[in-house]
């Protein structure tokens, strides 16, 4: 490989290291043999580019090259076989072989038929292929996802699949059930079942990562005088002390009452208080409010400067 590495990478001799790296990345992405399995020429070009970068990518080697101390050859990385070399006709099946890309096409009898026949005859050996992964969606209730549960999926063929929902499962999480996907071909292992979990919203709780949030209505009396209240949590009601003079918007924390996590401590529940007046107006309360002078002087909007 004696071509001028600057020309190979398409950069000027005074290019910065950053420019050289950028040029290399751009070319390498286009030419990498594993990203161009059908292009036999890509490998040769990629080698030239990699070899040029081997010299120019290292400022020290580049300086020596510029001074003429080394030439562009003899620095080629001994590259072993590319990943693409383990695929294609005659190649053995391996852990990464997948039929996912055409699983749906296999429903076409004609294709399934051809593949079974040609592969049985190929290379003498019996053709085996891992089954493809099967995708399912499963909706679970909010508390089922937080606390964990087991759900049963009824499959299109009438079979069933028991899915263990671990505590703390998130919306959109994908659970992988090994060997529960489609059957393999020619005695190959079955694929996996991938179950995407949809967590339904809850009417009281919302969830932020490991923490549970809840808006808790309290009465005026409870807000003014404080007291002990029963508060719902995902694991059942818990007694909580509301301090005297609690306000709407006050947030109280129930430590460890959030979502159980696989690692580390469980999350917390955050309770946001909301003062709620009685539905119908109360003459006694109205009378009190009229008489309460400090209340009439209190301006909660003072800081808004309206």
């Amino acid at each position: 490989m004696n071509e001028d590495p600057y020309a190979v990478l398409g950069v000027k001799r005074e290019a910065t290291q950053e420019e050289i790296r950028g040029a290399y990345r751009k070319l390498a992405k286009q030419l990498h043999p594993d990203l161009n399995p059908g292009d036999k020429k890509a490998e040769e070009k990629f080698k030239q580019v990699a070899s040029a970068y081997e010299v120019l990518g290292d400022p020290e080697k580049r300086a020596r090259f510029d001074r003429g101390e080394i030439d562009a050859s003899g620095t080629e990385r001994p590259r072993e076989r590319y990943y693409r070399d383990f695929h294609g006709s005659g190649a053995q099946e391996h852990a990464y072989s997948t039929a996912d890309g055409f699983a749906d096409l296999m429903d076409e009898d004609i294709l399934a038929d051809i593949l079974r026949r040609t592969r049985a005859g190929h290379g003498g050996g019996q053709f085996r292929m891992r089954g493809s992964d099967a995708l399912y969606r499963l909706a679970v209730e909010f508390l089922e996802a937080v606390n964990g549960t087991t759900k049963r999926i009824i499959l299109p063929d009438g079979g069933t699949l028991d899915v263990i929902i671990p505590p703390g499962t998130r919306d959109g999480q994908v659970l992988r059930l090994r060997g529960k996907g489609r059957a393999g071909i020619g005695g190959g292992p079955a694929g996996d079942a991938l179950v995407e979990i949809e967590v339904r919203p809850h009417k009281l709780f919302t969830r932020k990562d490991g923490d549970i949030h809840l808006e808790l209505p309290i009465s005026l009396t409870e807000a003014v005088l404080g007291g002990k209240l029963d508060v719902p949590t995902p694991s059942g009601p818990v007694r909580m002390t509301v301090p005297k003079g609690a306000n709407s918007g006050t947030v109280l924390r129930l430590k460890g009452k959030g979502v159980q996590r696989k690692e580390g401590s469980p999350g917390d529940e955050y309770v946001t208080l909301k003062i709620v007046l009685p539905q119908s107006s109360d003459p006694e309360l109205e009378e009190f409010a009229r008489r309460w002078q400090a209340g009439q002087r209190h301006d909660p909007r003072a800081h808004l400067e309206v």
Partner: protein, 98 residues
Amino acid sequence: MIPLHEFLLRCRLEHESLQAWIAAGWLATPETEPEPAFSEVDLARAQLIRDLRDDFGVNDEGISVILHLIDQMHGLRRSMEDVLDELRAVRETHGGSR
């Protein structure tokens, strides 16, 4: 099969990175009896991952996506070859004409 130390050496990889790659599902869990051993396919795949990460600057999420697509593409190419073989055979039995 390639023993662990040779595998790490040949793909210039730290043991922790290897474990993380296996945990991420990028590489298959190796056979462990009598000792951890890898195949040539594992090696080629690990080198591809290293190229993607170190040379192309692909982030971890991107690598999972790329590997999945590459594997699917190989499956498809393989099926395509089989279908072409079959077509060729059909042509021959029909005397080479269409």
